[in-house]
């Protein structure tokens, strides 16, 4: 019997890093399934997963940035501003594909700027991206004049860009896109030299440099990935909502950072996984959805998320401490 138990605890699943956070997700799902009749319905589950898409996609980029031991506060503004630029172009009669491309290039560009200023110009990324966050938020308001953009031309909404907001049977296309992006990101981080160098650069920048890794380039590339994916998430919101509010993505960076940290990445750099980030993002939307279902007043919802975040990181610190003492 005891050997059986030992065998069980030797199973790979108990050893993998994300096990703890996966259990947190499972606990929330079980609790909500018991507490409400509405949570565990196919419509609601699909809804919850769909609500994970934008945060999830942005969190992929943020995972790279955080593993590099940097931070990007500007993603909400990249999301909003990119979407706003694209919406303006489409409304003005441009091809939606072109608008999509411009939005992605915009994300890459802001990412490059963030990367350049925080590596070559040696400024703290927190300050740099706080600056670009404000800058592009104000552009978003400036371009739109404070009004949401909607009612796009007839022909435009038939483009593939808008198909991203559709459903295939019961499954939202954007969910499929998210899953594909997560798989690609996982492979990039785990199996490519770039991913290896990202972990090395964030784990010990000096050692990575002396190992011949151009850490500035690696970090800048991570900011660019993060920018591009944030703009991409903005395009998905256009496709789904067929409109862009002026405050699109405002405050989104906090949810995204929270997902990544919930997923086990370390703000000190060098640690984090794509799978963890996915679970972190799912927890965020399950909790948000659950709070609505059990009618927690809207004012307190953010506070609840804050408590979960602190508890998750506390748990991780305690676990890590135990790991370290076990040297």
């Amino acid at each position: 019997m005891s050997s059986r138990a030992k065998q069980l605890s030797n199973l790979k699943i108990f050893k993998f890093r994300e096990f703890g956070i996966l259990m947190v997700l499972v606990v929330f799902v079980v609790l909500l399934s018991v507490a409400t009749d509405t949570f565990l319905t196919s419509t609601n589950i699909i809804n919850v997963v769909r609500q994970t898409v934008e945060i999830g996609i942005m969190a992929i980029g943020m995972t790279f940035v955080i593993i590099c031991a940097e931070i990007d506060l500007s993603i909400g503004s990249i999301y909003g501003c990119g979407a706003m630029i694209a919406a303006y172009m489409i409304k003005g009669g441009s091809d939606p594909s072109l608008a999509f491309l411009v939005a992605i290039l915009f994300g890459l560009g802001v990412g490059f700027l963030n990367g350049f200023l925080s590596t070559k110009a040696r400024m703290p990324a927190f300050i740099v991206t706080l600056g670009t966050m404000q800058l592009f938020r104000s552009f978003t308001y400036g371009i739109s004049g404070g009004y949401a953009i909607s009612s796009f031309p007839e022909g435009a909404t038939d483009s593939w860009v808008f198909r991203m907001g559709d459903y295939i049977g019961p499954i939202p296309v954007q969910v499929i896109i998210m899953v594909i992006l997560f798989i690609i990101a996982h492979v990039v981080l785990k199996k490519t030299r770039f991913g290896f160098n990202v972990i090395a650069s964030g784990g010990n920048q000096r050692a990575a440099q002396l190992g011949g890794i151009n850490t500035n380039r690696i970090k800048t590339a991570s900011f660019m990935i993060c920018g591009a994916l944030s703009a991409f998430a903005g395009m998905i919101s256009i496709a789904f909502l067929k409109s862009v509010p002026t405050g699109a993505g405002e405050g989104r960076e906090m949810d995204v950072i929270a997902s990544v940290i919930l997923g086990g990445a370390s703000m000190a750099g060098g640690r984090g996984t794509i799978l963890g980030t996915l679970i972190g993002a799912l927890i965020m939307s399950v909790v948000k959805n659950g709070m609505i279902l059990i009618s927690i007043p809207a004012y307190y919802q953010k506070g609840f998320i804050g408590v979960i975040l602190i508890l998750a990181v506390l748990m991780d610190t305690l676990l890590n401490k135990r790991d370290k003492r076990g040297e």
């Binding site: 490519t192 090395a200 784990g203 002396l210 370290k324 003492r325 040297e327």
Partner: protein, 499 residues
């Protein structure tokens, strides 16, 4: 019975499945210098951390002044009068030397009504710096100091704290002979004032010189406590490793005639000037000198880690401008840096990833890392460098310092370098691992690799090198061939007394 200040009774400490200490019992007499020795992993650090209140023992009791005491926190340890000089220096890099010295100092001397008495702190610090003959100013920030200077600052703190029991963990690892003497003077001074000292060092000659009694640990077990006058260095080595090690075995030069590297009038303002030397294929060249003589800086320039330099660097006679680390690696130069923790180890990565940080470039299959190949290679590496790890996918921090250093060496030697630069390659590692590192260096020199070793341990340079050049304040002051090697001569050049 002698008057014991600390008595350990059946102390055991387990970490998960491994026992770091097993049933250790011994006592330390009041007012003595009690040395702890043993290889890395013998349990010395664990014992120190138990005294410091960082760990609690799994079993066993500690008696202080004959009373059973539970040291369950760092504060409690301080209350009991412990002061620990750690091997890795915990100083505040962004504060001045003076502020670091008096950090945590509770006596009212440093206060003038509500304010800190800056003048007092500065003057006291200046006195201390003069004592160590350090050319530093009390207001200088600690981050501008070298590692050796930082460890002196940490030891100096002890003078002001006047502890009852001072524990020193490898305090002299980064120091030169003269600085070491000052540390010994301080130890003597503290001893006359009634401080008991627990001294941990890998340098056996130091233990013999400074210690009153010695406790040897091996694999977490107590081996023996002896008076220093009863033992010789050889006895100690035998007790520590349970086997005999020939530290300074016979030397066979592998140097060939072909000049591999030629450095001409290399200069970097404020660091070193007009450095010229040659390195032959298979040669092991030592660079001796004091901390701050510019030795590390020369290596950093050769490796492209600091830029730019003036002067010429030729490899195989071809003039090469080393712009950055990538150029250096392309020219098959490798560097084992001075500080393992700051410059080499990536703590969040596994043993395997750390060992393959550089060689991963050759283990790609299209855009992807060839996992089969990396697994095969790490097995070979583990055997070749006898890295003591059951599973190379475990975090690097699970290894002892000596094994971490072997991983760093493997990282570079597996990349097939032509020129190997080693900066203090055996700092803070145990006797066994040291001789393994020497073997590694000797082995690559057989393959024609030219090696430059910077070290503050003269016996190390003397046993390892074919030729030694000596630096003093950024300038070359001497060159010795193997038949001329002597500590006195090298020290003469390093202090510039015989030029």
């Amino acid at each position: 019975m002698a008057d014991s200040i600390i008595r350990f009774e059946n102390i055991s400490k387990n970490f998960a499945a491994t026992a770091a200490l097993r049933d250790v019992s011994f006592e330390i007499e009041r007012g003595e210098v009690h040395c702890l020795c043993g290889e890395n992993g013998a349990g010395k650090s664990t014992l120190i951390n138990i005294c410091g209140g960082v760990f609690s023992p799994t079993h066993g009791k500690i008696f202080i002044d004959g009373k059973e005491t539970e040291i369950n926190s760092i504060t409690k340890s301080e209350e009991m009068g412990f002061f620990i000089v750690h091997q890795e220096v915990p100083l505040c890099a962004n504060m001045s030397i003076a502020h670091n010295i008096f950090l945590g100092y509770k006596s009212p001397d440093i206060r003038k009504s509500f304010f800190l008495d800056e003048k007092f702190m500065r003057n006291e610090t200046q006195k201390m710096l003069d004592l160590f003959k350090l050319q530093l100013k009390p207001d200088q920030l600690v981050e501008t100091l070298s590692i050796a200077e930082q460890s002196i600052i940490q030891i100096a703190k002890a003078i002001y704290f006047k502890p009852r029991i001072m524990i020193m963990d490898e305090p002299t690892a980064a120091l030169t002979n003269d600085q070491r003497k000052v540390v010994f003077d301080i130890i003597h001074q503290l001893k006359t004032n009634g401080t008991t000292i627990i001294y941990v060092s890998h340098r056996l000659e130091e233990i013999i010189e400074i210690g009153d009694s010695i406790t040897v640990l091996r694999d977490g077990q107590f081996i023996c406590t002896k008076r220093v006058c009863e033992v010789t260095q050889d006895d100690l080595v035998k007790l520590m490793v349970g086997r005999e090690i020939d530290m300074y075995s016979t030397h066979e030069s592998q140097a060939q005639d072909e000049v591999l590297l030629e450095v001409k009038e290399l200069t970097r303002k404020g660091e070193f000037e007009n450095i010229s030397f040659q390195l032959k294929k298979g040669e092991i060249l030592g660079i001796a000198g004091f901390i701050g003589a510019g030795r590390t800086e020369v290596l950093m320039s050769l490796f492209g880690a600091t830029k730019p330099y003036h002067g010429e660097i030729r490899i195989h006679g071809e003039l090469i401008k080393i712009k950055n680390v990538e150029t250096a690696i392309k020219n098959r130069i490798a560097l084992i840096p001075e500080s393992r923790r700051d410059d080499a180890i990536i703590p969040s990565m596994s043993i395997k990833d750390n060992a393959q940080l550089v060689t991963i470039a050759h283990m790609m299959k299209g855009p992807f890392i060839d996992k089969k190949k990396t697994n095969k290679c790490i097995e070979q590496t583990r055997k070749k460098f006898s890295i003591k790890a059951n599973d190379c996918n475990l975090p690097i921090m699970t290894l002892s310092g000596g094994n971490q250093q072997k991983v760093v060496a493997a990282r570079w030697i597996d990349n097939d370098p032509e020129i190997l630069l080693c900066d203090e390659p055996t700092r803070g590692i145990d006797v066994g691992a040291k001789s393994e590192i020497y073997d590694i260096i000797r082995e690559v020199s057989k393959d024609g690799v030219g090696t430059i070793v910077v070290s503050s341990e003269l016996p190390e340079l003397i046993s390892l090198c074919d030729r030694i050049i000596v630096m003093h304040e950024g300038k070359l002051t001497g060159e010795l061939h193997r038949n001329e090697f002597s500590e006195e001569l090298i020290m003469g050049y390093a202090t510039k007394t015989n030029c």
